[in-house]
C-alpha cells in the first residue's frame, strides 16, 4: 500500500510502470508483480480522487488599511 504518497506521486509511479512495460527493461518474470502494483495504484488513485476533499482556510490576517 502507499497511503503516504500524494495523488501526484501515485500517478507518477503508475506512469513509470506503464513505461516499463513498453520499454527495453521489461522482464516477463517481473511482469506479474508490476501488473498487480499498477492495478493497486489505479484503485488507490481512484479512491483518493473520490474521497479526498480540499482544505480551504481563510488567512488569519487583515489586509485592510492600517
Amino acid at each position: 500500500m502507499s497511503e503516504n504518497k500524494t495523488i501526484q506521486q501515485k500517478m507518477d509511479e503508475l506512469d513509470k510502470i506503464s513505461e516499463w512495460f513498453q520499454g527495453e527493461d521489461f522482464e516477463l518474470e517481473e511482469a506479474k508483480g508490476m501488473l498487480e502494483r499498477a492495478a493497486e495504484l489505479s484503485k488507490e488513485i481512484e479512491h483518493d480522487l473520490k474521497t479526498i476533499t480540499n482544505d480551504i482556510k481563510e488567512v488569519k490576517k487583515s489586509f485592510k488599511t492600517d
Binding site: 500524494t6 512495460f21 513498453q22 516477463l28 501488473l35 480522487l49 481563510e58 489586509f63 485592510k64 488599511t65
Partner: protein
Amino acid sequence: MTPRFSVGDFIAVTNQAFENIYPAVEIEGEVASFKVNQGKYVFFDLKDAEGSVNCFMMVYQLRVPIEDGMKVVVSAAPKLTQWGKFSLTVKSVQPSGEGSLKKSFELLKAKLAQEGLFALERKRPLPQLPEKIAVISSMQAAGYADFVKIINDRWGGLDVQVANVTVQGSEAPDQIIRALRYFNTTDDQPEIIVIIRGGGSADDLSAFNDELLVREIAASRVPVITGIGHEVDESLSDLAADVQASTPSNVAQIIVPDKREIIANVRATVSEILPSVEAFVARLKDRVQGALDRNIELAESRVKYTEENYTRLKKMLYELSPDRVLERGYALLRGGDLNVGSIVSIETAGNIIKARIESNERK
C-alpha cells in the same frame, strides 16, 4: 462680539472648520491644467460649468493616469493655504464615467506595455498539479463561490489559503497588494496565486487597473492567474498575470484537472498494460517457434545428408564386393601353393573350377 484672529490663527481655525464640516469629501469634475512638478508634486484644476477649484497631491498617490479633459472623482480634504489660497489636498483620484475610465485604461496600458510588463516572455507556466494554492478574493463574492464549487467538483487534496479582501472601490488595490506581498513572503509559500472577482461594471472592475497593483502582480515571485469579471472584460491585472482566465470558474478549470478524466485515464493506462504483455508473449512465442523451426530444418538436412552418404558408401561397397568383381568377368583363384602340378580352385560368376597348374612364370 465679532471674533478677531491673527492671520495665522484665522487660517488654522478655517482649516479646523473644514475638517469638522468635511472629514472626507468626494468631488466630481473635469481635470484641467494638469501638471507634475519636480516629479513629485501634482497640480490640476477640477472644474465644471459652475466653477473651478485648485487641487494638489503627491505623485505616488496618483494610481491611475489622468490628463486634461478627463472626468474624475477625487477624494480630498479642503484646505486654506498659508498664502490664503483655497485648494483641495487630494488623497486619491478615480476616473469617472465610461470615457474617462477607458482613456485612463489606455494610457496606463500603453505605459506599462512599453515597460514590458505584459510581454509574453515574462509569462511562466503554472504547475500541472498544484498542491498548495493561494486565493485573493472577497469570500462573500459570487465569483468566489463559483470558484470553490468548481474546484471542489474537479479535484481534491488541495491546500487552499484564502486572503479575504475587498475587490471593489478605492481600498481594493491596496488590500490586494498586501495579500500578494503576504503570499510572496510567507514561509508556507503557495505554488499559484489566484486573483478572482465576479462580473461588474467598468467602474466596479477599475480597481484591477490600479498601477501599483498591476506592477505588484508583474513582480510576484509566485505565478499569478487572474479571473476577473466576465469573458469580455479585460483588466491590466489580467495582462500582467502569468495566466489570464476568463472568469473565476475558468480559473478553477485551468489550475486543476477534472478528476473524472484522470480516473478514466488511469483505468485506460492499466487496461493497456495487459495487451502489451500479451503482445510481448506472442513475440516471444514467435521467436521460440522460429528457432525451433530452424533447428528442425537443420536436423532434417543433416539426416538427409547422412542418408545420402550412406547410400553412396553402400553403393561403393557393393561395387567393390567380390561377387560384383566376378560379375564383371574376373575370377577368384584359391589354392595352396602355386607350383606346377598343384591343384587350384577358380571361382567365376557362375562356376567353381578345379584346375592343375601347368606353368608359373614371373611377369
